[in-house]
Amino acid sequence: MQNEEIIKRINQLLIEEIEIDEAQISPSADLKKDLGIDSLDFVDLFVIIENNFGFKMKAEEMSDIKKLDDFYNYVIRRVHPN
């Protein structure tokens, strides 16, 4: 999966599964402040990511992820470890 496809898929999942307003989606958006993703939504993101990208997120890896762009890069790194 190309990086652009990964980003597109993440956006689609945020809109459909977490019901984030499409207009709020931008790489610089703060996950908590701008997108309203709280600690419970993160629990659901674990499930959504495993079901769609086939890897398990780890709670300790989430501490550095503040912006949506951080999240894109995290998923890209996990999908393409090398």
């Binding site: 659901d44 499930v47 398990k56």
Partner: protein, 399 residues
């Protein structure tokens, strides 16, 4: 008040069904495939709340919470209680609920398959707890008063109203949202089916629930949710609210005997206490909404108990479970809604399928068909496993 029931999704539909003696019972082939002894159940469409409630409010809400949400929206609207009122006043919630089986089964199924609790997601914990309805609705509606669930088996909804009445009478709260909710799914009733307590009249689903009838062979499980807004008289008058009826008395007792077999003395004690609390004699009751679920022993014992207290005045009696099936945790609340609808629309709903009485039922004045009638006061019985009993007396204001 408000309701989401197998005989209607709002008060108007339910009132019409009660008047017409309409049954909400179906044959569910899924239960047969699963190995149920009886595939009969009450059934109502699952509410579609996407676009009405946001995702966070929906993911923690089990199906009986969805029913309860819609019943409570209708009840608050009819009571004229809006967000502004709830912001200024501490509105409480006491709801009857005694299981939330499906989310427990589903979440453990995920764990067994994935072998990782992180794959369960965030919603199941809030769906799984017995207090799921009161916890979810208090967040959705922003209630700031008393907030907990009452689990008293098949008397849960009735006890919730009774406790709400006591708290308001004590002066601790002015408005409490009371009710009862019951999930409808095979997972929650499989172990009950194992007790041989359900009717197996599968060839005639709508004739299967036949309380007090000589040929009854068991109950039919059902569900939904019912909400009543309890409010102090002074607060209701101050707001100019339409007062549908007054909770005049709450009686309770425990049989102190068998876990599932009913007796006579326990229900007699509960009914007597409710009359005493209401300051009324038996002759003041015009209608009794019986608990009668269509089981041989339960209906017989209740008929004997009613006859002991009401043998002289012989008020009209019907079990609306003949139409709805046994709504279990919801039933004590829904039957207050059904009876209050009858009181406000001047009729007594029929005990359908009552073709031949047995010896005990023959002593009662059972309404086998719809009767135009002025109810000034009614008594509603709810009994449950463990021998818990609850009786509520409701009367017309100044009636």
């Amino acid at each position: 008040m408000g309701i989401y029931s197998v005989i209607g999704k709002n008060l108007v539909e339910v009132k019409n069904s009660l008047y017409e003696g309409k049954s909400g019972i179906i044959f569910d082939p899924v239960r047969k495939e699963m190995g149920f002894r009886s595939a009969l159940t009450g059934m109502v469409e699952r509410p579609a709340l996407k676009g009405i409630l946001d995702r966070r409010m929906r993911v923690g809400l089990p199906v009986q919470g969805e029913y309860a949400y819609l019943a409570t929206v209708e009840a608050l609207n009819n009571a004229g209680i809006d967000a502004a009122f709830m912001e200024k006043n501490a509105v409480g919630i006491l709801y009857g609920n005694d299981s939330s089986a499906l989310p427990v089964v589903e979440s453990v199924d995920i764990l067994r398959k994935k072998k990782d609790t992180m794959m369960i997601g965030s919603g199941y914990i809030f769906q799984s707890m017995n207090s799921t309805v009161s916890m979810n609705l208090s967040v959705i509606f922003k209630f700031r008063g008393i907030n907990f669930t009452i689990s008293g088996a098949c008397a849960s909804g009735s006890h919730a109203i009774g406790i709400g009445y006591l708290i308001i009478r004590q002066g601790l709260q002015e408005v409490i949202v009371c009710g009862g909710a019951q999930e409808i799914n095979p997972e929650s009733t499989a172990s009950f089916d194992a007790l041989n307590a359900f009717s197996t009249r599968e060839s005639e689903p709508q004739k299967a629930s036949r309380p007090f009838d000589r040929d009854r062979d068991g109950l039919v499980p059902s569900g939904g949710a019912a909400t009543v807004i309890l409010e102090s008289y002074e607060s209701a008058v101050r707001r100019g609210a339409t007062i549908l009826g007054e909770v005049a008395g709450y009686g309770f007792s425990s049989n102190g005997e068998h876990i599932s077999l009913p007796n006579v003395d326990g229900p007699v004690a509960a009914m007597q206490l409710s009359l005493k609390e209401a300051g009324m004699d038996a002759s003041g009751i015009d209608y009794i909404n019986a608990h009668a679920t269509s089981t041989p022993a339960g209906d017989e014992n209740e008929a004997i108990a009613i006859d002991q207290i009401f043998g002289k005045s012989r008020p009209l009696v019907s079990s609306t479970k003949s139409m709805t099936g046994h709504e279990m945790w919801m039933g004590g609340a829904s039957e207050i809604v059904y009876s209050t609808l009858m009181m406000n629309h001047h009729f007594v709903a029929p005990n359908i399928n009552f073709d031949n009485p047995d010896e005990a039922a023959a002593r009662l004045n059972i309404a086998s068909h719809t009767i135009p009638f002025e109810i000034r006061a009614f008594l509603s019985n709810s009994f449950g496993f463990g021998g818990t009993n609850s009786s509520l007396v409701v009367r017309k204001i100044n009636g």
